[in-house]
C-alpha cells in the first residue's frame, strides 16, 4: 500500500512532467523532424562516457563517472522548481512527514525521473555491445558495470536533491523586495513604447519566466550561426552552417511568436477592464516583434553581401525566404498546434534545402 504522501508526490511529478512535455511538444516535434537522425545518433552514444571511463584505471575512472553522474543530474536540478513548485512546498513543508518516508518517496520520484535515462543506457549499451568490431578500449564487463554505477550515482544524487528540497522551508515570499524601501515617484509615460515594455517585455523576464532567456539564447545562437556560416571557417562545413543557421532562425521566430501569443491570451482578462483595445494591442505587439526579428535577416544580408553569397539565384531565394519566415509565422492566425508545427517544420526544411545550395 503506497502512503498518501508518496502517491501525491508521484502524481505531482507526473503532472509536472506532462506539463513540461506539453509546453515543449511543438518545439520538440520540430527538432525531432528536422534533426531526428542526429538525435538518434546522440542517443546511441549516451552511454559512451561511462563506457569510455571504464577503460581508465580505477581512480581516474571513478572521477570521470562522478563527473558524468553530476552532469546527468543537472536536468533534474534545473527542473526542481517545476517538480516541487514553491507554492506546493509552502504547504507541504509543515506536514508531519517522517524523514524515512520522505527519503523513500524522494528515491521513488528520482527513480521515475531516471527511468528514461536507464532505458537510453540500455539502448546505447545494446548498440555498442552488439557491434561486430568493438573498439579496443571497450571492455564489455567493465563498461556495463561503469554505466550501471553512473546510473546509480545519478539516481542517488537526484534522490538527494529531491529529499533536500522537500526538507528545507521554501524561500520567503518577500524576497521580491528590493534593497531599501522605496517611495513611489510617478512616471506615467503614455505611448506604445511604455505599454510594450510593461505588457510584453517585462513578463518575459520576471516571476521565473524562462521565455526571455530562451529567446536571448536563440537570438545569440542564430546570430553566431549566421556569422559562422558566412565566415566559412575550415572546421564547419558550409552545409552544416546553413542547416544550423536555418534551424535556429526558424526556432527563434517560432519561440518568440509562441511567447507573444501566450502573453496576448494572458492579457485578455486584464485588458478587458482597461481602456485598451485588444485588437490594436495585438497588432502593435506583432509589428514590434517583427521589428525585433528583423535583426538576424539583417545580419544575414550584410554578412552575405560581404561573403558574396547572394550572387546566385539560390542565394537570393534563400535571402527572400529568410526575410519571409517571421512575417509568415507571426501574421498567420492561430490554427491547430499540429498545423502550426507543420508550417514551422516546412519552413525549416525549405530553408535548409535552399541554404545548402548557397
Amino acid at each position: 500500500m503506497i502512503h498518501a504522501y508518496t502517491r501525491f508526490r508521484i502524481t505531482l511529478t507526473l503532472k509536472s512532467l506532462a506539463q513540461l512535455v506539453a509546453r515543449l511538444r511543438s518545439s520538440g516535434e520540430i527538432v525531432l523532424l528536422a534533426l531526428g537522425p542526429a538525435i538518434l545518433g546522440l542517443l546511441g552514444c549516451v552511454a559512451l562516457p561511462p563506457m569510455f571511463a571504464a577503460s581508465y584505471p580505477l581512480f581516474p575512472a571513478l572521477g570521470l563517472l562522478l563527473l558524468h553522474a553530476a552532469l546527468m543530474t543537472l536536468p533534474a536540478a534545473l527542473l526542481l522548481p517545476r517538480l516541487l513548485p514553491a507554492q506546493v512546498r509552502a504547504w507541504l513543508y509543515p506536514l508531519p512527514v517522517p524523514s524515512g518516508l520522505l527519503l523513500r518517496t524522494s528515491m521513488l520520484v528520482a527513480g521515475l525521473l531516471v527511468a528514461p535515462l536507464a532505458l537510453a543506457y540500455i539502448g546505447s549499451l545494446a548498440i555498442w555491445m552488439a557491434q561486430g568490431q568493438r573498439p579496443d578500449w571497450l571492455l564489455p564487463g567493465r563498461a556495463i558495470g561503469a554505466t550501471l554505477l553512473s546510473l546509480l550515482l545519478t539516481w542517488a544524487a537526484t534522490s538527494g536533491l529531491l529529499y533536500r528540497a522537500a526538507l528545507l522551508p521554501p524561500a520567503p515570499r518577500m524576497r521580491t523586495l528590493q534593497p531599501g524601501a522605496a517611495t513611489y515617484a510617478p512616471h506615467p509615460r503614455p505611448g506604445w513604447p511604455m505599454l510594450w515594455y510593461r505588457l510584453f517585455w517585462l513578463p518575459l523576464w520576471r516571476r521565473g519566466s524562462l521565455a526571455g532567456p530562451r529567446q536571448a539564447l536563440l537570438l545569440a545562437g542564430t546570430l553566431i550561426a549566421i556569422a559562422l556560416w558566412m565566415a566559412g571557417p575550415a572546421l564547419l562545413p558550409k552545409v552544416g552552417g546553413a542547416v544550423l543557421a536555418s534551424v535556429l532562425l526558424v526556432l527563434l521566430v517560432h519561440e518568440a511568436d509562441d511567447a507573444l501569443r501566450t502573453q496576448l491570451a494572458r492579457l485578455q482578462t486584464a485588458t478587458a477592464r482597461l481602456p485598451l483595445d485588444p485588437r490594436v494591442l495585438g497588432r502593435r505587439a506583432r509589428l514590434s516583434l517583427l521589428a525585433g526579428l528583423a535583426l538576424p535577416p539583417s545580419l544575414l544580408t550584410v554578412a552575405g553581401l560581404a561573403a558574396q553569397a547572394w550572387g546566385h539565384p539560390a542565394g537570393r531565394l534563400y535571402l527572400a525566404l529568410a526575410w519571409s519566415v517571421a512575417p509568415l509565422l507571426v501574421m498567420t492566425p492561430s490554427f491547430t498546434p499540429r498545423g502550426r508545427m507543420g508550417l514551422v517544420a516546412f519552413s525549416i526544411m525549405l530553408l535548409c534545402a535552399i541554404g545548402s545550395k548557397v
Partner: protein, 212 residues
C-alpha cells in the same frame, strides 16, 4: 428610478455557461454612493464587472453618460474603473510600474490624492515590490489608493473592506464620505459590512426584478 441618472442599464441579460444571472434588468444610477447588496451568488461582482466593461452583456445595454459599453467600449472603459479581485492580473509588474501603467491609461488623476492614499494606507514604501508579492490587504489598499485618485465618472468597488486593517477602513470610509458629498461621480460599492457613511442609494439584488 432617478431623473439625473449617470448610468442607465436597460434590459440587461447575462448568462454564465452553467446558469443565468440577469434577464431584463433595468437600473438607473445617479452620482453619489450606491451600496450594492445581496446574498452570496446573487451577481454583485458580475454586475460590477458588467458595469466596468470587463464582461460583455448577452443582451440589453449599459450606458455611462451616453456612452454605450459595447459600441463605445474604449471611451466607456476610460471613464470607469473596476476595483476588485484579490489576485493581481498584471503580476509581473512592480508596484510603481503597476501604478504608472494605470496612470498613463487614465490621464488626469489627482496625484496628491494618490500620494495621500498611499501614505494613509501605509503602503508608500513598497514602490519597488512586485504586486504579486504584496499581501491581500496591501494589494487591496493599492487598488483603492489608485481608484480614489482617478478622475473617472463610474467607480466600481468590490468588497473594499475585506482584508483591510481598522485604520485603513476608517480612512476609506472618510474618503467615501467626501466623494459621496461631492457627488462628482457614481460610486457603486459592494459590502456585506454596514457602511458608516450614508449611501445615496441602496440597491438590493435580493429583491431586484431581473436578477435570477
Amino acid at each position: 428610478m432617478n431623473a439625473n441618472a449617470l448610468v442607465e442599464v436597460e434590459q440587461l441579460g447575462f448568462h454564465f455557461k452553467t446558469r443565468s444571472v440577469f434577464h431584463g434588468l433595468d437600473l438607473r444610477l445617479a452620482p453619489g454612493l450606491t451600496w450594492l447588496r445581496g446574498r452570496n451568488g446573487r451577481g454583485k461582482t458580475t454586475l460590477l464587472k458588467l458595469l466596468g466593461g470587463a464582461l460583455a452583456p448577452s443582451g440589453g445595454s449599459i450606458r455611462l453618460g451616453g456612452l454605450d459599453s459595447r459600441r463605445d467600449a474604449l471611451a466607456y472603459r476610460g471613464h470607469s474603473f473596476y476595483c476588485g479581485g484579490e489576485a493581481p492580473d498584471l503580476d509581473w509588474l512592480r508596484t510603481d510600474e503597476w501604478l504608472d501603467l494605470h496612470l498613463s491609461l487614465y490621464p488626469g488623476a489627482d496625484m496628491s490624492v494618490l500620494q495621500a492614499g498611499l501614505d494613509g494606507f501605509h503602503i508608500g514604501e513598497i514602490a519597488r515590490q512586485l504586486v504579486a508579492g504584496l499581501s491581500l490587504g496591501q494589494y487591496k489598499k493599492l487598488q483603492l489608493a489608485l481608484a480614489l485618485a482617478l478622475q473617472v465618472r463610474l467607480l466600481l468597488i468590490d468588497e473594499p473592506f475585506n482584508g483591510l486593517d481598522a485604520q485603513a477602513i476608517e480612512l476609506l470610509q472618510d474618503a467615501l464620505a467626501r466623494r459621496e458629498a461631492a457627488r462628482d461621480c457614481c460610486i457603486v460599492l459592494t459590502s456585506h459590512l454596514p457602511l458608516r457613511v450614508a449611501p445615496t442609494c441602496v440597491l438590493d439584488l435580493d429583491g431586484q426584478a431581473g436578477v435570477l
